[in-house]
Structures are given as C-alpha cells and as structure tokens.
Symmetry: C2
Subunit: 247 residues, 2 copies
DNA sequence: CGGCTACTTGATCCACTTCAAAGTACGTGG
DNA sequence: CCACGTACTTTGAAGTGGATCAAGTAGCCG
C-alpha cells in the first residue's frame, strides 16, 4: 500500500490529481492559503490501489476513513443472510465512498472495485479536525453527505414507483450525465458492471435488464454491444420517464 | 410562530425537552460548560407547530434550517410529474428532518405532518458554526447524517430485494423498535399513516398492504384494528425476514 | 482451442396490480 | 344525538409485468 509520503505533494500536483474530485470545491478553488495547503497535506492520508473484484472494505469492518475514488469505479452492496444482494450504488472517479461507516464506527455495506482502481484515503478524524478550522471544507463535506441522501431518495423513487424500462432509462441517463461530467462522451460509454449488478441496483433480474436493453435497441433508442452502450436518442429515453405507466 | 426567546431556556428544561432527541448525545450528557450552554442557546432558533396534513417544507423551498421533531410525526416524500408519490421516510420524535436541503440549498422533498406536531428549528448556519467549536456536536451531527444514509440503504434492500410480506414485516419490526426506544409499548401501537402511505413507502399498492395485514392476522402474528396494531408474535415476524423466497 | 463467464432469448408461471364493490370509522351540522 | 358525507379499509375476481426455468450464444483468457 503506497503511503502518501511516497508521493511528494505539490499544489500543482494536487490541482491535477483532485481536479475531478467531489471535495475539490473546498480544497482548491477558494484561494487556500499556504497554511491551508499544509493542512490539506494532513487530510489525505494515503493512496490505495484496489484490484478488480477486491474489497475496499467489508460490512463490519471498523470505520476509520472515507475514500475518494481517484481512478476506476466501485459498487457498494448490502447482503442478506440468505445470500440476496442489494447494490446500493456505483461510484466513479471523484465520488466519495464510506460515509455509511460514520454512524456506528463500523461499515454497514461492502465496497468492491469493478475494475483496477485507486482511492485517496481520508482519515475521518483528520477530516473532522480540519473542517473545524476551514469552514468551506466543513460545508462542502456536509453537501457531499446531503447529496448522497438525495441520491438515495432518487433510488427509492426508482425502486418503489417505476417500472422496469423506466428504471433502466433513468440508469442510462444518470450514467450518461456522470460520464459527461468527467469529460467523456455523453453518448457512448462502457459499463463496468454486469447485467446482474445493474439488475440488483434496479431491483430487477438480469434477464429483465437484458430484455429491456434489447427493447431499447429495437426502438432505436440505444445500440448495445455487451457492455458498450451508444445512446442514439437521449430524448426518447427521457420521454420514458415522464409518462404515466398506462398511457 | 412562537420564538425561542419566548420560552426561557434552563438546563433542566433542555434536558427534559431534548431527552429523546437525536442530537441529545452531544448537547447534554457530555458535561457541557456554562459557555457551551449559551451556544446551544444560539443553536435552536425557535419552535414551530405544524398541523396535521400541513407541510413543514416543500420540494423547492430554500433551505435554511433542519428540524428536530419534538412531538408528533411526519412523512417525507418525492413526487413525480405524473403524480406518482414515493414516501422516503416516516419521522418520529427526536428524529431530524431536512438534511436533503444541504446539498443544493433547496429542499428536494416534501415534509408533511401526519398529526398535529411540533419541531425545533435549527438554523443550519448556526449548527455549522457551533459545531466548529464543539467537536462532540460536530461528530454527533455527522453520525445523524450517516445514520440516514444507512437507513436509506436498508430501504433500498427492502424495495429491491424483498417480497411484499417481508417488507411489511420489516416495517412493523422497525416501528416497534422505534416506539420501544421512546418508552412506548413494543407490542401495541397506533400507526399515524394510511395504508396508501405505507404502501408508497414499501413500494406496494394499498390493497397489497391491507391483504398482507390480513394474512398476518390469520397467521396470528398480529392483531389489526384499522390503525391500531398489536404484535402477538414478534419472532414469527422476524422469521419472515430470514427465509429464502422459495423455501 | 477449450473452458468459463456473461449475455440473450423463449416459454411458462405467479406475485402483485388493477378494477370493483362493500364495509367501517369519524367528523360535522342539523 | 343522530344522519349524512367523506375518507379509509377490506375483500374478491381478473389481468399482467416481471420472475423463473431452460436453452443456446458470444466474448474472453489461459
């Protein structure tokens, strides 16, 4: 596990490294003083590489740090005793993982890399300490947590009130937006997760996900080749979301 | 709207008033100094009464404060353009409402009183300022937010992976635990929400909720009389959660 | 090339929804 | 205090979206 100390931190380096990070809004742009930069130095403890299919943490692990995804992507899931899995989210670069652990000082879900990935380890005690001194960091962190709560409400809406094709359309639109925000194509991207993982996230079986993809392709909304997706008619997809179930 | 200033704050009074509050863990027990108490004075801005079926806030409202439920209970929900409603949670005394607003400085859901209720208004700017000075308050607040995220994951599990009777059993067990934590009977309680609201929360139609209640009654797990519930076999309910769907 | 994992597609089934009709509690005004 | 209206709940019967079961296919990697 390469320790942070190994990689000398420079302001330039940070700006590059963290340019897509969810925490950037408070770390960098707001004219941090030299002293602030030194504190930031204390904030990010280390980087950690996680290979595909490896756990970043498991349910039950002691909580010490939250993580910012630098490269790659993750899924978080909850397991029931009988083996049922619920994927609670997919995380891409710049997104924060691990907030579930603050509540009880132990993680309540699993975080697994979908591809070879790297995270910034942010010891939570450090974050709390520094955010007591830098108000903008404190506020930004609160926004990150709140955003997670709002996102979760959206997933509840999806799981509780939408039909299969609406759920998949919402998922594709969301992925497209997140790729766009990272400077990738809005129309063409590569999904890192399996049909089963998408299904688990959307509360559907993998066959249903597959059939919905096929239906979208028939209707010329998208082109599917395994995990490679090309969106041909984003408005058509969005239209699926604004219709009543039986109209 | 009675302002806080109207009700003189005393340490005794606070201990009584906040004895069931989620924020109590940091406000009260940790031997706050006289100075801390004065700061607390600045934290809780006012109390606000909300009548049954009235909104505490609506989606789109500017975010300024979070709320601690003093008496009564609330639901929070998200509405789709076509009228579909997803209830995202039910809140009882001591629980915090409004965390969704931090993210964008505007609320993203509606909060509606299920009965005549009263909340403590906590201006969020105050909370951030004071929590920069009192570390235990800061940490407690982070725990409250994290707990909300963990709870949301549980609801996703419920909506995405459980069948109707499992969902209702999980709901009843959860309600029972929360009533117990408030000093009420674990076995007998009055639901403040309608079958339709329970159904919306659980991703089911009201008829399905009603049928599941009836089935539980047939199986002597509970007694139902409209909104009055008596749990006769809590272990039987719990057993419903640990079984495979087809076993 | 062989073996594996992931994906697609068809046929059948069933849990939950939808539609419909009563029944019950409750508040209000006469 | 009763009559009536309203909102909520229960229950039945029929319909359907997605699950399940079952092949078969495509891509990947050692």
């Amino acid at each position: 596990m390469p320790n942070r100390a190994v990689v000398p931190i420079t302001v330039e380096g940070l700006k590059t490294a963290c340019s897509q990070c969810n925490l950037q809004e408070l770390c960098l742009p707001y004219g941090m003083s030299e002293g602030d930069i030194n504190q930031l130095d204390a904030l990010v403890g280390a980087r950690r590489k996680v290979k595909r299919h490896q756990h970043l943490y498991r349910a039950g692990d002691t909580f010490e740090s939250i993580y910012a995804v630098r490269t790659g992507s993750f899924k978080t899931d909850v397991l029931l005793e009988d083996g049922r899995e619920q994927v609670t989210g997919f995380q891409m670069s710049g997104e924060i993982i691990g907030l579930d652990g603050i509540s009880t000082d132990a993680h309540s879900c699993n975080a697994v890399a979908l591809e070879d990935s790297e995270v910034c380890v942010i010891p939570f005690a450090n974050l709390e300490e520094i955010s007591r001194e830098i108000g903008s960091l404190q506020h930004q962190f609160h926004k990150v947590m709140s955003r997670e709560i709002v996102r979760d409400h959206g997933v509840m809406m999806l799981l509780g009130s939408m039909r299969a094709e609406e759920r998949l359309a919402a998922f594709l639109i969301n992925m497209s937006q997140r790729f766009t925000a990272r400077g990738f194509s809005a129309a063409e991207f590569h999904l890192r997760m399996t049909r089963e993982e998408i299904g688990s996230y959307l509360g559907l079986k993998l066959e249903t996900v597959s059939r919905a993809f096929s239906r979208f392709q028939e209707n010329e909304l998208i082109t599917v080749q395994q995990k490679h997706i090309r969106i041909r008619d984003i408005d058509g997809l969005k239209a699926l979301l604004s219709h009543l179930p039986n109209v």
